[in-house]
Point group: C2
Chain length 337, copies 2
């Protein structure tokens, strides 16, 4: 009996580790448990992460007063209480303007792991990215000088910037967006999947492991790999025409490449695809198979993959108390127009 | 020497306690330190506060998916990271609609202490109040059935409602708004001022105490009294015409009465007055003196009162982690129109 149990246990471990090995062979990697290892991946030597900057960046991220209207913050479209997006087909912003290219807001969670930012990958990092939406007319619609005036008008912000950067800090637009980016770099969400990849077979259920096998077998892993299960630029609609192609005019970067979205927290970031036209995860899986791999994904396979994808819903970082500095009489007034 | 020190100490205590006594005589009362005493003031026997309801109400308060657009939550206009308002002259909502009466969003902090809700006091309590903005076309623009469908579509919400109300709970619109109100009832913000009223003379600086004396002497206390320093209905523009009368068409309730705003956290809730036309606290103080008391408040007096009012900025309750339940495939889709 003892021998039998031992044999079963051994077989189960071997099966498990063979799936883990297979996953790793396909380039799937885990979010490191150790802070030192994690920081090797998320830190930016030109804009190093410090606790003071993270704490300040968090305030700025949640502050609607950075926007022209005083009503829209980074968190409005990258809602950290949800999946780090807005769950809208296309982003909405200043004056209720829908994104002119009908692009949806990508999640900010784990965005640090992407090799470039925005759907067309036009910005290399979060520091540069953070400058975009604040100034974009259909988003936060602010000018650099508005942002600088807002932040410099509040003693609470000035104190926090001095604490983070030293007494002589000049609070300009880039300092503000760099600090937001520092906060965003910390928004990583490890899940049971990472535990599994690191060798804990029980971290995923057997259905989830089956789903991972299907995910690999069908070929999803060919683009959705690495630590983010996505984040690189790829060709789009390679084997068939995307069925919602006509919604919006986005066609990728100058080479037609589109950023592969991370699959982490994907169950929380519907609707799907760059133009948010795909409502459910199963439809997204089937459509991806059809247009990217030339594969007819069966409904059983789609269901199995969906079960795996749900295991990628990660633990959101603890944000602590979010209280913004008091405005002063010189804080620029909101402008809804 | 000992006698001299004793005499000084005694005099200082007497002076202090005479101001505290005077404040109490004018109806100024503190937020109780004891939870039992506090709950006597904030609890609702028809909708009792429980931890499970507060925790669920918090989620609902932050959930933009309750709105028609999926973009606006209670927190959008009652921002708990700021002073519990939106710092806009007039509230903005669905489709970027400005409040048709040019009314500003009152703070939700300490709203529980008001004898009625809304600028015209039309609703008796927070439970009834919470039903308004969710359904108002220019605010969250949702229908009751939308809210019910959204909440019932999410397993996370169903579980939390069962936890809060029992297995047989029927999650209807009123249950949702009652639960939001329960959360809101806990949003009280004690400050150093309360400590002072309870007898700790040092809790306020000498300038703040001077400000309190001026506040009483000028007559502000005749309307801004009680635990909230406001919260009752009063006549408006009694001694002169309000200088921004023509902004918006609000003229109070059927008897011309207007809700006196709480002064707690008033330094965080600019701009001022029902139509948000007054930009600074000092201007608000002077204008109030002129139109409510027939008094020409000097700039020295206004400054002194402002210093006192800033001591009413209170400690915001700790909210913990705010993570919303996952949507499901049956969750109603957002509608920006």
């Amino acid at each position: 009996m003892k021998t039998l149990l031992f044999t079963i246990a051994l077989t189960s471990t071997l099966v498990a580790s063979s799936l883990q090995q297979e996953a790793r062979n396909f380039g799937l990697t885990s979010i490191p448990e150790s802070k030192t290892e994690l920081y090797k991946l998320i830190d930016n030597s030109k804009n190093p992460i410090t606790d003071a900057k993270v704490s300040l960046g968090k305030m700025l991220f949640f502050d609607p007063r950075l926007s022209r209207s005083g009503f829209i913050s980074c968190n409005s479209c990258h809602n950290l209480a949800m999946g780090g997006g807005d769950n809208l087909p296309a982003a909405v912003g200043h004056k209720w303007t829908v994104n002119p290219h009908h692009l949806s807001s990508p999640t900010v969670y784990n965005a640090v792991f992407s090799s470039s930012q925005f759907w067309d990958g036009r910005d290399p990092d979060l520091e540069k990215q953070a400058q975009g939406p604040i100034q974009a007319g259909p988003e936060m619609a602010a000018t650099k000088s508005h942002v600088e005036a807002v932040v410099n008008s509040m003693p609470g912000y000035k104190k926090a910037f001095k604490h983070a950067y030293g007494q002589d800090v000049k609070i300009d637009f880039e300092k503000v967006t760099d600090t937001i980016a520092t906060f965003e770099r910390t928004l990583v969400t490890p899940s049971r999947y990472d535990k599994f990849l690191r060798g804990c077979d029980k971290a995923l259920s057997s259905d989830e492991k089956e789903g991972l096998k299907t995910f690999i077998k069908v070929g999803c892993v060919s683009c959705h790999n690495g630590i983010a299960l996505g984040g690189e630029m790829q060709g789009f609609a390679l084997t068939a025409k995307y069925k919602y192609e006509n919604i919006g005019d986005f066609r990728g970067n100058k080479n037609g490449l589109v950023k592969v979205p991370t699959l982490r927290n994907i169950a929380q970031t519907a609707p799907y695809f760059h133009n948010g036209a795909v409502k459910t995860l199963q439809e997204a899986i089937v459509e991806m198979g059809r247009i990217q791999l030339g594969v007819a994904v069966s409904s059983d396979e789609a269901e199995s993959i969906e079960i795996f994808l749900k295991s990628l819903t990660g633990k959101k970082p603890y944000l602590g108390k979010v209280i913004l500095p008091d405005a002063s009489d010189t804080t620029p007034k909101p402008n809804l127009n």
